[in-house]
């Protein structure tokens, strides 16, 4: 009889709001739990976060291990590690998945070391192999290589998952999870890390790294006037506007917030449209995780066409207005 059972996910919350990644993990967790015919649970740690447990149930959790205490208000690795260890040792999950967010990446390895188990990092896929082992798909070398990683002899089999790679389930209003309370047995004096300040940015617009759609312009856009077309297309799509270096140097775009590439931002949108971009390697590195890549360029030999799903050879001044029109018509 297997001692370790059940899929456990870490439901990250910040300031009383569940991070999307926790819900994504419930999505993939549900698939694995169903395949294994085991239970799917979530760990929720924070202060006054009871209502979030309900939300976790609606997104697929069968059970929620809830640790709710003033000491847990803001994330601290030592406090959270102790609680994770408690849950793991008491409830012995088979598999534990956490989001590879900043907090997840800070917490997961500590937990893995503490409970003496293996941890696969930044997985973009999961599976159960024919020997019943939990497999994480881990990209390496800038994405050129994909490794399948297993943890055959230690439990729980742990992994962190890349945010944005997995789908959350459809929310089922009223679906309830069983809430199991986890007691906090330590005091402030027992903790080595003291929180002295927190800050959360008021985002005026979504940072480019989080955008679902990105429209980026390159030197081929040609001028400030034409750049407005790029921005207009982005506006119609609700997209973030990115750029390569030359438009930033020319002043059509902002280097800090918009430059995409090896020395700039990495984006992972569902749709990326590159306008007037030749497709130099250092830019392509920043967009390769895009689901669908579209390139519009006057030069049929531009390397970007090899790195795109769809390419249009033509003058952006002709193409973009008609593209905007076609999108308006279709929606």
């Amino acid at each position: 009889m297997k001692e370790h059972k059940g899929i456990l996910v870490f439901a990250e919350q910040r300031a009383g709001k569940l991070s999307s990644v926790g819900l994504e993990l419930l999505g993939i967790g549900r698939k694995i739990a169903d395949k294994q015919q085991e239970e799917l649970a979530a760990v929720l740690i924070g202060h006054k976060v009871g209502p979030l447990a309900d939300e976790l149930g609606e997104y697929g959790a069968d059970k929620v291990y809830l640790a709710d205490n003033l000491l847990l208000d803001v994330y601290r690795s030592d406090a959270y590690t102790i609680l994770m260890q408690e849950v793991i040792q008491q409830y012995k999950p088979n598999i534990l998945i956490m989001g590879a967010t900043c907090i997840g990446a800070d917490l997961a390895p500590r937990v893995a070391a503490k409970v003496n188990t293996g941890l696969s990092a930044h997985c973009v896929g999961f599976d159960i192999d024919d020997q019943g082992r939990f497999v994480g798909q881990v990209p390496g070398f800038g994405g050129a290589v994909m490794a399948s990683v297993i943890c055959p002899n230690h439990y729980p089999q742990m992994a962190t998952a890349r945010p944005g790679f997995f789908e959350k389930l459809e929310r089922q209003k009223g679906r309830k999870a069983e809430v199991v309370k986890v007691d906090v047995k330590f005091k402030e004096e027992d903790l080595k890390i003291k929180v002295v300040g927190t800050f959360v940015e008021e985002l005026k617009s979504r940072p480019l790294e989080d955008a679902d759609i990105v429209v980026a312009g390159g030197y081929g856009v040609g001028g400030k006037e034409n750049w407005k077309l790029v921005e207009e297309l982005a506006g119609v799509l609700g997209a973030g506007v990115g750029a390569t270096r030359p438009p930033c140097d020319e002043g059509w775009a902002d280097l800090e917030r918009q430059m995409i590439g090896q020395s700039g931002k990495t984006v992972r949108p569902t749709l990326y449209i590159g306008v007037g971009i030749s497709g130099a390697m250092h830019h392509l590195v920043g967009i390769k995780n895009s689901k669908v890549v579209v390139a519009i360029n006057k030069d049929p030999n531009a390397p970007i066409f090899q790195a795109a799903d769809y390419g249009i050879v033509g003058d952006l001044c002709q193409i973009i207005p008609r593209l905007i029109e076609a999108m308006r018509v279709s929606s």
Partner: protein, 270 residues
């Protein structure tokens, strides 16, 4: 101020300029890296820089440590050229094939043999593996607190540090008494340029070599045998895009593209 001693953990990674020459051995499922020069990773440089700044503020020593095969001396040498007082290479066949757990274990034992440290620095993630896991795991084995994603670090009082844990769209500022493990991000500082004085330091300072026995590591907990995770398969990803060129009149091409994007569910709904 009491002198603060730092240990900087660095990792040999293939020089990024030659990454396209790294190939996958399909039989052994390992990456063929021979002949490709190794380099100090960019975040390791930030980590070393932060340690050097603490030394400038407080005195104390900076020791660079790395676990790797023979040849890893090159990055330890470069750490000395940049200013580290000494360097330690943990090298032993028994260390090979380690995952992050076994690597962290070996490094922790090496740091114990050094007599510990006030601050143990890491780059937040390495260039090749980029798991970001070894720092917190070393902290666990050394029973020290850790802070990762640090983009600001200050000395506070007699014995503490204030670190800024950079999270998505914000940060959490924490204060921790030393000893502590800190993993830094690239924006924490601008790594210094090496100077020719580094050639003199290289003549005068030592690279110490330790085997698994030298540090007293349990052979069952290092290398491949000590690794709870294993790689069961590796494949190269050929990022094959459709490369479908749409031709025709601008209005036709535009409409065609929209159709295809809708079919791919790439357009926003509604």
């Amino acid at each position: 101020m009491k002198p603060i001693n730092s240990v900087v953990c660095i990792k040999p990674v293939p020089d990024q300029r030659f990454w396209d020459k790294v190939s996958l051995d399909k039989k052994t499922k390992t990456l063929r890296r021979t002949g490709i020069p190794i380099a100090l990773g960019p975040l390791d440089k930030n980590a070393l820089e932060e340690a050097l700044r603490i030394r400038e503020a407080s005195g104390g020593k900076v020791t660079a440590i790395s676990m790797g095969p023979p040849g890893t001396e090159e990055i330890l040498e470069w750490a000395i050229v940049l200013g580290a007082d000494e360097a330690v290479l943990l090298t032993d066949r028994a260390f090979a094939g380690a995952d992050t757990w076994a690597t962290a274990y070996a490094l922790a034992w090496g740091i114990k043999k050094l007599g510990g440290a006030d601050v143990v620095f890491f780059g937040n993630e390495s260039l090749d593996g980029s798991t970001g896991q070894v720092g917190p795991q070393v902290a666990e084995f050394l029973d020290m607190p850790h802070v990762t994603h640090v983009n600001k670090l200050d000395l506070v009082g007699e014995d503490a540090l204030r670190a800024r844990f950079h999270i998505e769209h914000g940060f959490i500022d924490v204060e921790v008494k030393r000893p502590v493990v800190i993993a830094v991000e690239k924006t924490i500082n601008e790594p210094r340029c090496p100077t020719l004085w580094g050639t003199i330091w290289l003549r005068e300072r030592k690279i110490i070599r330790w085997s698994a026995d030298d540090v007293g590591a349990d052979k069952a907990k290092i290398g491949l045998p000590g690794s709870p995770t294993q790689v069961s398969d590796v494949i190269t990803i050929e990022l094959k895009r459709k490369s479908e060129i749409l031709s025709g009149e601008p209005s036709d091409v535009a409409r065609l593209l929209v159709q295809k994007l809708q079919a791919d569910s790439a357009l926003p709904k509604g």
